[in-house]
C-alpha cells in the first residue's frame, strides 16, 4: 500500500518536477487552442456544405457526409499515426509543407494538430448540424419567402439562432479535444504525457502522470460545470415553447 502511494502520490517528486510538467501541459493547451480554432471553422464549413439545397449540390452533400462519417469512425490515434507516417513520403508536396517547422514548432506538433483538426472538424460539423436542424423549418421558409437566398437566410436567420443552441454540446467536444491532445505523444511530441513518461522511465516513479492528470482536472472541471449550466438554460428555453431567443 505504501509502495502504491510512493509510486503515484510522491508529493515531493511532484514538487520537484512541477514546472517541467506544467510547461509540458502548456503544450497541450497550445495544441488545443490551435486545433479548436481550426476545427470550429472547418466544422462550420462542413455543416453548411451539408445543408446546401437542391439537386446540383448532391455531390457536395455526398462527399461532405462521406467525410464526416469517415473521420467520426476512424480512431484518432490511427489518423495521427497515418498522417505523421504517411505525409512525409508524398514527395510531390514541397518539403516545407510535407515536413513543416512553422512558428518554431517541430513537425510532430503539426501532424498532431492536422489529425485532430480533421477528426474534430467532423465532430463539430455534427454539432453545428444538430443546431441548424433544431431551428424550426418555418424560419428558413419565412426568410426565403421574404426574398432571401439560401445563403442569406442561413447567415442572417438560421445560423444566428442555431449558435445559441450549440454551446453545451460544443463545449463537450472541446473537453474531449483537450484530453485527446495527449495522443500526440505517440509521435514523440513533448507534451505532458510524454514528459511524464520520460520522468517515469528516468526515476521509475509515476507521480508525474498523476500531476498531469491534476492539471487536466483543474482546467476541465470548471468547463464541465459551464456545460451543465448551459444545458439547464437550453432546457428552460425548450419547455417555454419552441421559441428561441437570438442572443
Amino acid at each position: 500500500m505504501s509502495e502504491f502511494f510512493h509510486q503515484y502520490f510522491d508529493f515531493n517528486y511532484m514538487g520537484e518536477h512541477f514546472w517541467e510538467v506544467l510547461e509540458a501541459f502548456l503544450q497541450n493547451l497550445l495544441i488545443f487552442a490551435v486545433v479548436a480554432v481550426l476545427a470550429l471553422t472547418w466544422g462550420l464549413i462542413l455543416a453548411l456544405l451539408r445543408q446546401l439545397p437542391g439537386k446540383k449540390f448532391m455531390p457536395v452533400r455526398f462527399f461532405t457526409i462521406a467525410y464526416i462519417d469517415l473521420f467520426r469512425a476512424i480512431p484518432i490515434l490511427i489518423v495521427i499515426l497515418l498522417i505523421s507516417g504517411g505525409i512525409p513520403f508524398l514527395e510531390f508536396i514541397p518539403k516545407e509543407i510535407r515536413i513543416p517547422h512553422w512558428f518554431g514548432k517541430p513537425d510532430p506538433f503539426w501532424y498532431g494538430t492536422a489529425a485532430l483538426m480533421l477528426v474534430y472538424g467532423a465532430f463539430t460539423a455534427e454539432v453545428y448540424r444538430a443546431g441548424i436542424e433544431a431551428v424550426p423549418g418555418g424560419q428558413m421558409e419565412a426568410a426565403r419567402s421574404l426574398g432571401m437566398s439560401h445563403w442569406q437566410a442561413m447567415r442572417h436567420v438560421v445560423v444566428p439562432q442555431a449558435v445559441t443552441l450549440i454551446p453545451a454540446p460544443m463545449l463537450n467536444e472541446m473537453i474531449s479535444l483537450l484530453k485527446d491532445s495527449t495522443l500526440v505523444s505517440v509521435i514523440a511530441f513533448a507534451e505532458s504525457v510524454l514528459i511524464s513518461r520520460e520522468l517515469l522511465a528516468e526515476s521509475f516513479n509515476s507521480s508525474a502522470l498523476l500531476l498531469t492528470g491534476f492539471f487536466f482536472i483543474v482546467i476541465i472541471l470548471p468547463l464541465a460545470r459551464i456545460v451543465d449550466k448551459l444545458i439547464a438554460r437550453n432546457q428552460g428555453k425548450i419547455t417555454r415553447g419552441s421559441h428561441i431567443e437570438v442572443a
Partner: protein, 278 residues
C-alpha cells in the same frame, strides 16, 4: 425530443449488448470450462513462468500474442525448460517494465534490457546473456557518418532506452525525439522527419535487412550487457535462471539460437560473462 432520446438510449444499449456478447465469446471459454482452455506457449511443461517483454523489438522479440518469437523469447523458453517450467510472455511497455516487475505483475523480464546501476536499484539482474552495442542508423547516402555528425540535428530514439541516454549525453545541441516504440523511430527516419536513430545495434541491423533504405553509419560500444531481471529479493529464482543460462550456454543451445537470429558466431566473452547483483 422524447422519442429521439429513447432511440439514442436504445442505440447505446444495443452497442453495449453487442460488445458484451462479442467480448464474452472471446474470453468466455476459460471461465466456463475451468482449467481446460488456458493458453500456454511451447516449453517444458510444469508451472508457468510469467515473463514481461516489450514486444515488438525485432530481432529480440517479435510476433503476435500466443506465438511470440525472437532471440530473447527462444532463449527464455530454453532457460525455462531447464528450470522445468513454461515461459509465458506478457507484452508490456518498456518504460514501466521494471516497475511492473517490482510490483509482481510477472516473475521475470527479458526485453533486450541493459544492466544499469539505475535499474538495479529497482530490480536484480542475472548474468549477461548478450553483449550489446548502439548503432547510429541513418538514411542511405546520408552525410551523417558518425554519432558526432548528428550534433545539432533531429534524432529519434526509443523512450526509456540506453540509446536515449547516449543521445542525451553526446548530443547536447540536438532535438531528441523519444518514440514509444523502436519501429516508430525507424519509420520517422525513413519518412525523413529525423536525420538519425540511435538504437540497439541488432535492431538497427534488422531494420537494414528487412526495411531497406537505411544504413548503419557507426556502431558505438557502450559496455552494455543485457540481463534477465527479477524482482529484488527473488534470490532463488535468480539462481535458477543463472544456472539454467549457464547450462544453455554450455550445451550449445545458446550458440544455435544466437546464430539463428544474428547470423553470426556469438562473442567468446559471453560464455564466461558474470554479473554480481548489487
Amino acid at each position: 425530443m422524447r422519442k429521439t432520446r429513447l432511440t439514442a438510449f436504445f442505440a447505446v444499449l444495443l452497442l453495449a449488448v453487442v460488445s458484451v456478447v462479442v467480448i464474452g465469446c472471446g474470453g468466455g471459454s476459460d471461465s466456463t470450462t475451468g482449467g481446460g482452455g488456458s493458453e500456454t506457449s511451447a516449453g517444458g511443461g510444469g508451472e508457468p513462468l510469467t515473463v514481461g517483454s516489450d514486444i515488438p523489438y525485432p530481432p529480440f522479440e517479435q510476433g503476435k500474442p500466443g506465438s511470440y518469437t525472437g532471440f530473447d523469447v527462444e532463449l527464455m523458453e530454453a532457460i525455462a525448460e531447464k528450470i522445468g517450467r513454461t515461459a509465458e510472455f506478457q507484452d508490456t511497455s518498456f518504460e514501466t517494465i521494471f516497475r511492473d516487475l517490482a510490483q509482481g505483475k510477472f516473475e521475470a523480464v527479458i526485453s533486450a534490457a541493459t544492466i544499469t546501476q539505475e535499474r538495479e536499484q529497482a530490480v536484480d539482474f542475472s548474468n549477461p546473456y548478450y553483449l550489446s552495442e548502439q548503432a547510429v542508423l541513418v538514411k542511405e547516402g546520408s552525410d551523417v557518418k558518425s554519432l558526432e555528425d548528428l550534433e545539432g540535428k533531429t534524432v529519434a530514439v526509443q523512450q526509456g532506452t540506453t540509446g536515449q541516454e547516449l543521445a542525451k549525453e553526446e548530443l547536447g545541441g540536438s532535438e531528441i525525439r523519444p518514440y514509444p516504440e523502436g519501429p516508430d523511430a525507424i519509420n520517422a527516419l525513413k519518412a525523413g522527419t529525423v536525420e538519425g536513430v540511435i538504437i540497439d545495434a541488432p535492431v538497427a541491423q534488422n531494420a537494414v535487412e528487412k526495411s531497406g533504405g537505411v544504413e548503419i553509419a557507426e556502431k558505438v560500444s557502450t559496455n552494455e550487457d543485457y540481463g534477465i531481471a527479477v524482482a529484488q529479493g527473488e534470490t532463488e529464482l535468480l539462481k535458477e535462471i543463472n544456472d539454467a543460462l549457464q547450462e544453455v550456454k554450455d550445451d550449445g543451445t545458446y550458440t544455435k539460437i544466437y546464430k539463428k537470429w544474428f547470423h553470426a558466431e556469438p562473442p567468446k566473452e559471453i560464455f564466461t560473462a558474470n554479473h554480481e547483483p548489487e
